[in-house]
């Protein structure tokens, strides 16, 4: 009995040590800084492209009036739930809010404003998504969680205007220390993006008509008129190429959740992922989704190699233990 007790005591101790090392080892902000720039640009693009349809989607007499959105997505009495700042705005403030959102996401992209800018950018961008839930899709779903998790870490500490100014000001030459908040943010991103990969792989295996089992998946994805950036209709005469492409994507989505955690396999898997998402983006025209997935998967990049080949005065953070070791 004492051996059993000792076993569970040791198990508890080692799990606790492992948990603390996994979540709370201080990490530099470089990876988060890079993700911040990518996510900020994508958020800016997402909000900016609402411009031509602003009144059409968000006005009180638009295609998506609050009475409709409220009845579908805002059940009465729900304390939390989907909310948007735009729910409470009069139509006259729609344009000013739109421009203010662009300004905030721009500042966030540049790394100005710290966590306040991160939270403001996330709240405003998610407000646009939540106010018009009938016109959002996969891209907005991915970008949302990236923006939320960037609020946890200190993403503005690296690759930012603030970091640049810090390097140039002699009085403030000390870089910001590595922070466990950066680790928490990166780990949340990693776990979430791994879950997304797994669910997308499952969806492909479960797709109707066995579209991805037969290898037809990418042909169907690239078949929407007016969408592809690269015309792949010529592959109709090469069904084996289409099948190999589709199977490579499905295999990546199922293998990545496991292999990304292995340091030796990680560079290969990240390269494989980059090829997958860029090919999907070009063939389907869903480049924002592809770039959002790449930004989320970049949470597995290790800070040191990123800092070495992207040595720039903007990376004003001293080296720290890499995430994932």
């Amino acid at each position: 009995m004492s051996n059993v007790t000792a076993y569970f005591r040791e198990l508890n101790r080692s799990m606790g040590v492992g948990w603390n090392r996994f979540w709370f080892t201080p990490t530099a902000a470089r990876t988060l800084g890079a993700i911040r720039i990518a996510a900020g640009l994508l958020a800016f693009y997402a909000v900016a492209t609402y411009g031509p349809d602003l009144e059409r989607f968000f006005a009180s007499d638009g295609m998506l009036p609050m009475s409709l959105v409220g009845s579908l997505y805002r059940p009465e009495g729900q304390v939390l739930g989907q909310h948007s700042l735009l729910d409470y705005l009069p139509d006259g403030l729609l344009r000013p809010t739109y421009y203010a959102s662009l300004a905030v996401t721009g500042l966030f992209t540049l790394g100005i404003g710290g966590r306040m800018a991160a939270v403001a950018a996330a709240v405003l961008t998610l407000s646009f998504f939540a106010r018009a839930p009938l016109v959002i899709g996969e891209f907005e779903a991915i970008l949302s969680f990236i923006l939320v998790y960037l609020c946890v870490g200190r993403s503005c500490d690296a690759y930012s205007v603030a970091a640049l100014l810090r390097r140039r000001a002699p009085a403030f030459s000390l870089p910001p220390p590595a922070s466990p908040l950066n680790t928490i943010a990166l780990r949340l991103l990693q776990i979430h993006v791994v879950a997304v990969h797994l669910m997308m792989g499952y969806a492909q295996l479960a797709a109707p008509e066995s579209a991805w089992w037969s290898g037809e998946g990418m042909w169907l994805a690239a078949g929407r008129p007016g969408m592809p950036l690269v015309d792949v209709s010529g592959l109709e005469e090469h069904p084996r190429v289409v099948a190999a492409w589709s199977h490579a994507i499905t295999l990546y989505l199922l293998a990545a959740p496991v292999l990304l955690w292995n340091r030796r396999a990680r560079p290969l898997v990240l390269s494989w992922g980059a090829a997958v998402w860029l090919s999907v983006g070009l063939a389907t025209g869903w480049m924002p989704l592809a770039l959002a997935m790449l930004a989320a998967t970049a949470s597995f990049w290790e800070p040191e190699p990123l800092g070495q080949w992207a040595a720039s005065p903007l990376a004003g953070v001293r080296p720290a233990s890499a995430v994932g070791r």
Binding site: N3, E10, R13, W19, W23, F24, Y45, T49, D53, R56, G62, M63, L64, P65, S71, V79, L80, G81, Q82, H83, L126, F129, V135, G137, E138, F139, A141, S144, F145, P180, I184, L188, H192, M199, M200, Y202, A203, Q204, A206, A207, P208, E209, A211, E216, G217, M218, W219, L220, A222, R224, P225, G226, M227, L229, E236, P239, V242, V280, W286, M287
Partner: protein
């Protein structure tokens, strides 16, 4: 593996700072809520476990607040009825859709537009078809979204109040011929010379038509969804009756 009897016991780990304990609880709660959202939404929400997990207090509200209430089961492409192209068209009422000038507007249209905008209109049209199916028993809910779309659209096109039809097209995806060769269905049809094999093609789903009528009293459009072919009624006017005026 319990330590051997003669080896020294490992040093006790220092107590974790208080904030780490709080962070641990918050992280576990967050990951639990995320798992609930995924299980509840995956596969169209058919999971029996998911139905029970919907009852977990605050879990779904929390993930909805953070825009994380998704199953993330995005297949990227498929051959199902919902995976094709959805398109909205505004038509003159009572005119054949293929006639010249019948189509007053189309979303997403053929004119060049940013792909993300095209995708958003595609999502809007998809939801019009989705809710049409989901609220099949309730005409008010069924026409709620089409009416809102039509109100704004007719105003945007500066169309005079009148009779229009909002049509939602569901165009099946174009299949890869070699991939579906094995799945082609055949039927036996009686022809001269006996039974013959004939390829059975699944017809595309009928477009969803919502007839719009301007209500001058309420100052908005009223709408009704076109009934399926076998459920339609005909209004027969007696010969010599005065013409109908709007």
């Amino acid at each position: 593996m319990p330590p051997a009897k003669n080896s020294p016991a490992p040093p006790p780990a220092p107590p974790a700072p208080r904030w780490q304990s709080i962070a641990t609880v918050l992280i576990i709660l967050h990951l639990f809520c995320l798992a609930v959202a995924i299980v509840v939404n995956a596969g169209g929400g058919k999971s029996l476990v998911g139905r029970q997990l919907r009852l977990v207090p605050f879990a779904r509200g929390y993930t909805q607040l953070l825009m994380m209430d998704f199953g993330y089961d995005f297949a990227l492409g498929g051959a199902g009825p919902d995976d094709g192209i959805h398109r909205l068209r505004l038509l003159k009422s009572g005119v054949d859709a293929d006639a010249d000038g019948a189509v007053l507007g189309e979303l997403p249209g053929e004119s060049p537009m940013l792909r993300i905008r095209r995708q958003r209109y595609q999502h809007l049209a998809y939801h019009a078809a989705f809710f049409d199916d989901m609220f099949a028993e309730n005409n008010d809910l069924r026409t709620q979204l089409p009416l809102a779309i039509a109100e704004r659209w007719t105003r945007g096109l500066a169309l005079p109040p009148g009779l229009y039809t909002l049509q939602c097209l569901r165009i099946p995806p174009r299949r890869l011929p070699k991939a579906i060769e094995a799945d082609i269905s055949y039927a036996y049809v009686m022809r001269e010379g006996g039974l013959q094999q004939q390829v059975v093609e699944t017809p595309p789903p009928d477009p969803i038509n919502v007839f719009l009528v301007w209500d001058p009293v309420e100052g908005r459009y009223q709408g009704s969804r076109e009934a399926p072919l076998g459920q339609r009624a005909l209004v027969v006017r007696p010969a010599g009756a005065p013409p109908f005026t709007n």
